[in-house]
């Protein structure tokens, strides 16, 4: 099912604005979906995952998942917080042929129309310095 990724009106926040995390860190944030609610939101999913991107087929692994049906949320609820402990691996990797990408993904399901997705990518690294792209030929 194709997704609509043009949901600028929804906010997905990572509490640490630097977006660099170490293994074992607790990643926290919250999302604000008032505009989706007004458009007939039926359910909302928050996923913490890594996926590969680059020149090959995509692989991915979900680390944390939570789904809320609209009925489960309070009638005037427009946002919720999330929290998860990050694993030891894989590290984010900005390679030339393959990239390992960590992200928090918010997906909304509606009565009509395609699901909509907002993502907040972040680094999972061995150190807190900005990770440089891997030079040609590997790290």
């Amino acid at each position: 099912m194709k997704e609509d990724r043009s949901s600028e009106e929804v906010e997905l926040w990572l509490d640490r604005g630097s977006r660099r995390y170490l293994p074992g860190d607790v990643i926290t944030g919250h999302c604000h979906f008032e505009s989706w609610r007004a458009e007939g939101l039926q359910a909302i999913e928050l996923t913490l995952l890594w996926y590969t991107a680059g020149q090959g087929e995509e692989d991915f692994c979900v680390h944390h998942f939570q789904r809320h049906e609209i009925d489960e949320l309070d009638a005037d609820s427009k946002d919720f917080q999330y929290e998860a402990i990050l694993p030891a691996s894989p590290y984010s990797y900005d390679g030339e042929i393959v990239k390992v990408c960590w992200t928090v993904r918010l997906k909304g399901f509606f009565k009509q129309g395609r699901p909509r997705v907002v993502e907040a990518p972040f680094w999972l690294t061995a150190n807190e310095q900005p990770n440089e792209p891997a030079p040609r030929g590997g790290a």
């Binding site: 630097s18 991107a53 030339e96």
Partner: protein, 253 residues
């Protein structure tokens, strides 16, 4: 996207948001390169119709060929992309579409097509209409040898299904016939439309149409190789840009 904290870069004192806008610390994601496979693989790239090969025309030719047809074209010419476009249209017409991915080792997988055909309910020959016949997409049919091709077509004839197969060139499959319903050789205009759509997502594109024309020459018309070339060029230039930025920051500090 909002940030609730602003960190300062240890060297320049610039805010993280400014550093991120320099491209240094932006986390990798599928938007890093507009020519990544997630954007250019068949099914992800929109099929751009030519005057000769609109989706409606191709399906009309399939009807004229009594439901057995082939998409003919070399590697990377857009056969799989057209199959995805045909699937969308056939689904709208309430036809059941099944993909069968064939490999060169079909003889070891001959049971696969049998088991797949067993999943399709047997139909009474009396009430079957062309409009209700399932459609099998035989992707990779070109990889099979003559004997394997005949075996597949024999299975299909028993199952009373319509077929769209992919081939590199027209071929005889006596006693059956797969009529060519589309000969694919994408024009530069079609390729440019797709290229510009992909590049739209970049605020400051690193690869221009002149680069793409050069890549098309290098790839000798193979679209799969063409996208790989553009992907590599974008990566090289992105890294070159970051190297220059790092040098500037070092000079400032």
């Amino acid at each position: 996207m909002s940030m609730t904290q602003i960190d300062k870069h240890p060297t320049t004192g610039a805010t993280v948001e400014n550093v991120a806008s320099l491209g240094l610390s932006r986390p990798p994601n599928r938007d890093t390169n507009p020519f990544a496979t997630c954007w250019t693989s068949p099914g992800k790239v929109t099929y751009v119709e030519s005057d000769e090969n609109t989706v409606a025309d191709v399906l009309h030719r399939l009807d004229l060929a009594k439901g057995w047809g082939a998409l003919v074209g070399p590697h990377g010419s857009g056969k799989s992309t057209l199959l995805h476009a045909l699937e969308t249209e056939l689904t709208k017409r309430k036809r059941q579409v099944t993909w069968i991915h064939l490999t060169g080792h079909f003889t070891s997988q001959s049971s696969q097509i049998t088991s797949r055909s067993n999943l399709i309910p047997k139909r009474s020959l009396k009430n079957i209409s062309d409009a209700s016949r399932p459609v099998w997409f035989l992707e990779g049919f070109e990889r099979l040898g003559q004997i394997a091709r005949r075996r597949v077509l024999w299975q299909c004839s028993r199952q009373q299904v319509d077929i769209v197969a992919t081939l590199h060139r027209e071929a005889s499959c006596w006693p059956w016939r797969l009529a060519p319903i589309a000969n694919l050789a994408p024009s530069k205009e079609q390729i440019e439309k797709v290229f510009r759509k992909l590049n739209e997502r970049e605020q400051s594109p690193l690869v221009g149409w002149q680069d793409a024309l050069h890549a098309l020459d290098v790839a000798e018309g193979n679209l799969r190789e063409f996208w790989f070339e553009l992907y590599s060029l974008h990566e090289k230039r992105r890294r070159l840009g970051k190297k220059e930025i790092r040098t500037k920051i070092e000079q400032l500090s």
